[in-house]
């Protein structure tokens, strides 16, 4: 007589269940997972490459004029993102990063927004020019 699955049956009697105990143990995503976007506004230079490269158009930018220069706000809408990582690859200053955070559950749009604001000073170039002239003198 043959018991084809006897070994497997005895083994599984003493092994742990294969079900993951999800809400109690949250597993980390594997290396290279493309999850929620993190934006570092202090590194951004406002070249707009990420906006050009984004296929669904999830990245928007608003520019406000303030005294020191331009107040620039980047918005990344996670409800429209395809998580293709093109914005991270094309960012010259590495200001965009796709993190391993995958639990993105929201009840309204605002929770799915990732925002970053920085001020780009416009007379910095002018100051630099002045300084170089002074050095020449």
């Amino acid at each position: 007589m043959k018991f084809p699955y006897l070994k497997e049956a005895v083994k599984s009697l003493f092994s742990k269940p294969s079900t993951e105990n999800f809400p109690k143990e949250v597993k980390e995503a594997p290396e290279g997972y493309r999850g929620k976007i993190a934006f570092y506004p202090e590194k951004c230079v406002n070249c707009g490459m990420c906006i050009r490269v984004c296929a669904p158009g999830a990245i928007t930018r608003t520019i406000e004029k303030v005294e020191e220069g331009d107040k620039i706000t980047f918005q990344f809408y996670m409800g429209q993102c395809t998580f293709c990582q093109l914005c991270q690859d094309f960012c010259a200053r590495k200001a965009i990063e796709l993190t391993k955070d995958y639990l993105m559950i929201a009840e309204d749009e605002e929770e799915l927004m990732v925002r970053g604001t920085f001020i780009k000073k416009h007379h910095l170039n002018h100051l630099y020019h002045l300084q170089s002239q002074l050095l020449l003198l």
Binding site: E20, F22, P23, P56, Q80, T82, Y102, M104, I105
Partner: protein
């Protein structure tokens, strides 16, 4: 006494209805993997129902195509009233890469208020489970508000 028991039973067994409105199949595969032994969402009481008339939670995936628009409206109308609409993935929330297409008439907010949205393209099974658990909490609140 029995009413309380029934109420508790209803809370612990939310039935899902999966509605595909032109999805690319990515989110659908992830939703099916949620009921496999590895993730096993049935320990929270979820069950995939075959009819919208039996469902409490409607999981919508895909941007709403013009072919599926009428079916979406008809299906949502058939669901009995304390219902929760869950948008699965980016597509029902904003049409994703299909926005502006001539055959897409989304997003889903035009036709029904979205209660919970699970972002991701597609979301991980863990994220789907967490979203469904949130949906059950909302369902509880809605049931209490109806009394």
């Amino acid at each position: 006494m029995f009413e309380k028991l029934i109420e508790k039973g209803l809370e612990k067994s939310a039935w899902l209805y999966h509605l595909n409105t032109g999805s690319c199949n990515g989110c659908d595969i992830e939703l099916v993997s949620v009921i496999t032994p590895r993730y096993d969402a049935e320990r929270f009481g979820f069950k995939i129902a075959g009819s919208p008339r039996h469902a409490d939670i409607i999981v919508v995936s895909g941007p709403i195509t013009s072919q599926s628009k009428d079916r979406l409206i008809r299906t949502l109308a058939q669901v009995p009233d304390p219902k929760v609409v869950v948008s699965l993935g980016s597509c029902p929330r904003s049409c994703n890469v299909f926005s502006g297409s001539y055959c897409v008439e989304g997003p889903l907010d035009k036709y029904a208020p979205i209660d919970v949205s699970i972002a991701g393209c597609p979301p991980k099974p863990e994220a789907i489970m967490a979203g469904l658990v949130r949906a059950v909490e909302i369902l509880k609140e809605k049931r209490r508000a109806m009394k």
